[in-house]
Structures are given as C-alpha cells and as structure tokens.
C-alpha cells in the first residue's frame, strides 16, 4: 500500500539500543589496570615486610656502626631534581653508656677519623623512643625529649612535640612532628634490612626567621638506624650503614 512502509529496521535498532544499555554502568566493569597494586582495599590485609626480632633502637654499650656519608646539594629546577655530590666520607658511631643524668639517655657518639665529632642522645624505654639531644660538644637539648615513635611500632602512628630547644643558655621554642611512614626493605652496603621509615620535622625560629629541619630515619629492629636523610635548606646529608659490630667485635 502506498504511504505505508513496514519498518524493517525497527527490530535491529531496538536490539542496538539494548546492546548500548548493556554497556551502561561502567562501575560493573571488572577492575583492572597496570597500577592496581597502588590501591589497597580498606580492611584487606596488606603484605608486611619481614623484620628481625629485637628493639628498634638497641642501646647495647660498645656497639659500633660504620656509616658512609654523602652530602649533596639538591635543587629543583623545572620539576627536575639537580643533584650535586659535595663530598663523601666515613663516620663511626659508638654506643656509650646509658645515663640517668640531667639528659637521661644513651649517647651515640659519632667519630670522624677516629676523633669525636658529634653525638646524639636517645632515650629508649619500653614505651617509646625519644631524642634527648644532638650536636657537637655544645649540644642542642630538646626539653622535654622529642618523641620519635611509640612502642610497639605501628605504621602510620604520629607523634607531636611542643617544647624548647636549648643551646648553651639560649632557649628557643620549637615544635616537631614525627610519623612512622612505612615498613620497607632497605638495601645498604651492610646488607638488606626490614626497617621502619620514621619521618620527623623540627620547626623553630632562629633570629626571627622560621626554620624547618626535616629528617628521615630507617630503624631496623635488632640493629638500629640503617639509613638516615637530613635536610638543611637545599643540602641533603645521606647516611648508610656499611658495617655493624655488636659489642664492638
């Protein structure tokens, strides 16, 4: 009949529309991608790094550590990091006696070419690790001691500090923030260690100008610090464990 056209394509168009709808809701698609390991589903266990048993910062008297120290100048230029090695040297750290004096803690004496050069004092109890002082003969003392991590160590745990940095007779207010950021396998010349990465930043004011001192330390249970990074402005000081001698043997 003229003017009346049977719709031969109607069925096909309908089927196409149905097919199109079958693709609706992208969320039903299977999750995939080359970087799926970068997304962890909350509540699902995440793989942990194998670690030795023992205290995160052993304070055995006479323990000796040999460090390789690299000092860099780092500049960020147009999103690229320009790195210049300024010097490389060796340091030795000897663990001293734990004292109960005005700065209770264990002295980690740092030597260069056999001569005492610097020291760091840590107070390690069954509950936490705190930094008491750091520096040369005239040390900067943290009042109260600055907490680095609570024990047992838990990934993601944070610590705040508000106190005073005392250098000789000068007392400067300061704040600090410390966080156990991750468990990592650290490769050093002394071997591979399962370690906690602890990031700390100390903020203070020097002659009216605000200063921040960020540092990252890796603590391997049973051994102690196996790597450190310390920034002073655009100068990065990196320390890596080369040799570890328990009891100095």
């Amino acid at each position: 009949m003229k003017g009346v056209r049977p719709d031969r394509h109607g069925g096909r168009i309908g089927a196409l529309a149905l097919l199109a709808c079958a693709g609706c809701g992208m969320d039903h698609a299977e999750n995939k991608g080359t970087d799926t390991s970068f997304i962890r589903i909350p509540g699902k266990p995440t793989p942990s790094v194998p670690m030795k048993a023992g205290p995160v910062l052993p304070t055995r008297e006479k323990d000796r550590f040999q460090w390789h120290v690299t000092t860099h100048r780092r500049q960020v230029i147009d999103d690229a990091i320009k790195d210049q090695v300024l010097r490389e040297e060796e340091e030795e750290v000897i663990v001293g006696k734990t004292s109960d004096g005005p700065n209770p803690g264990t002295v980690f004496e740092i030597r260069k070419n056999g001569k005492p050069f610097r020291a760091e004092i840590f107070d390690v109890s069954s509950e936490q690790v705190r930094q008491v002082a750091a520096g040369l003969g005239d040390r900067v003392t943290m009042v109260p001691p600055l907490p680095l991590m609570r024990l047992p160590v838990r990934e993601g745990a944070e610590q705040d500090w508000i106190g005073v940095l005392q250098f000789r007779k000068v007392r400067t207010p300061g704040t600090a923030y410390s966080r156990v950021s991750a468990q990592e396998i650290v490769k050093t010349p002394a071997g591979e260690f399962g370690a906690w990465r602890v990031e700390t930043v100390i903020r203070t004011t020097i002659e009216g100008k605000p200063f921040a001192f960020p540092m990252t330390r890796w603590f391997a249970p049973g051994v102690g610090m196996v790597r450190q990074r310390l920034y002073v402005g655009n100068i990065l000081v990196e320390k890596e464990l080369v040799r570890y001698r328990p009891g100095g043997k």
Partner: protein
C-alpha cells in the same frame, strides 16, 4: 478506504494538539530546569583543619569552571607538617554540563592515563562507596591517586560515570530522576594527591587521601543533618 495522504487529525485539531504538546514540553522544561538548579544548590562546607592538616584555598581555574557551567565549588589544598599535600574539591552539581568524570577529563587531557580503578566503601561497612583511581603521567614519572564520588544530601553516594556517552545512559537517567522527580541535591567530590618518589608503593599517599576523604565525608553527612557513621 482512507487515502494515503489523509491527515491523522482532520480540521484544526493538529494545531491544537501541537500547541498543547509545546506547552507541556515548555512547562516540563521549566520545571526540570528549576529542579536541576535546586539540585546544584547544596554547597556543604568542608573543614579547614583535619588532624595535622591545615588547608588553604586552592581555587579551580576559571576557564575550567566556565567549561563546566560555573557550578558553585569549594576547593582546598591540605598540607601536613611534612609538607605532603592533598587536594580536595566539592562541586555542587545541577545540570548535566556540571558533570565531568575524571576518567575522561584527566585522561582526555593527554598527559595522564588511568592505570587502576577500584570501588569500595570509604569508611567501613555501611558507608558510601567511592571510586579510587590511579592516573599515571604518560612519561611514567608521576602518579596521582584520586578518590571520586557523588555525594547526595540524602547520604547516598554514587560512583557511576556521567560523561554524555552511550555507556552512561542509566547513570544519567538516575541523575535526571533524582534531580527532577525526587529533588535530590548532589555534590561531586574529588580528593587527590600525587604519589611522591619516596613513597614507592603509594601507601602514604593513600593514607593521606583516605584521612582527608573520611573526615570530609563525615562533615558532609553532618552538613546534611545525617547521623555520623560509627
């Protein structure tokens, strides 16, 4: 026998029917526009401080907002004491032009491609689902983690894409139904951080994005007058 060319409505009825149809379409159009406008009028505040995180306003570029129809937006950059950053934006969405999905927008920009996607409840069982995505710069050097979801004032969340292609028809239908018929008010949430080189598996970046996202999610629920999730 009716001739082939005979009008379906004899006399003036076609004009009247057309007029009624136009009027109905115009009325519905006006009603739908008003409802879509209403859908985009919920602009919940987000916290300035979250735990150790302090925020500063970080406005989205005017030309980007213009391309989206200038929806009301709050955008902040959160910084923690270690200098890590998390970016968060709340965009009140009404008409479809406000909806741009990061899967298409970010990847379509040419510099990044989406390399992972997962959907899971943000804050434990019973909480709304979000879509987590990794975008990797094409030179492979930089990765970004983003949590994305649509937050409705009734407490529900949705992670479906709405980008105007055939695959999002059901999601768009749901948006239209929600805005026009139910009167649902919705915000698009985008919370992201770049994965730093010293965070090789992105663990810290996800921890940071999660902390900010969960707190903001609870703030949105409070703003909507809903009970906090335990």
């Amino acid at each position: 026998m009716v001739p082939d060319t005979a009008p379906i409505f004899p006399g003036r009825r076609p004009l009247a029917a057309m007029g009624v149809a136009i009027l109905l379409v115009a009325l519905f159009g006006g009603f739908a526009s008003a409802r879509f406008r209403h859908a985009g009028e919920w602009v919940p505040a987000i916290p300035n401080t979250i735990g150790h995180w302090e925020s500063i306003d970080s406005p989205i570029a005017a030309e980007i907002l213009e391309g989206l129809g200038n929806p009301p937006t709050i955008s902040k950059m959160y910084v923690n004491p270690l200098g890590e950053r998390v970016y968060a934006s709340v965009m009140a969405v009404g008409p479809f032009e406000n909806y741009h999905d990061p899967m298409v927008c970010i990847a379509g920009g040419g510099n990044f491609s989406m390399t992972a996607r997962e959907i899971f409840p943000l804050d434990g069982p019973g909480s709304g689902k979000i879509r987590a995505m990794i975008f990797r710069r094409r030179d492979g050097a930089v990765r970004m983690l983003m949590y994305y979801w649509q937050q409705s004032r009734d407490g529900s969340t949705d992670t479906s894409a709405r980008m105007g292609n055939y695959r999002d028809m059901l999601a768009r239908f749901d948006t239209g139904l929600g805005a026009v018929v139910i009167g649902r008010q919705t915000c698009l949430m985008r919370i992201h951080a770049f994965i730093r080189p010293d965070d090789p598996d992105g663990v810290q970046a996800q921890r940071n994005v999660e902390e900010i996202s969960r707190t903001i999610y609870q703030a949105l629920r409070r703003d909507a007058g809903l009970e906090p999730l335990k």
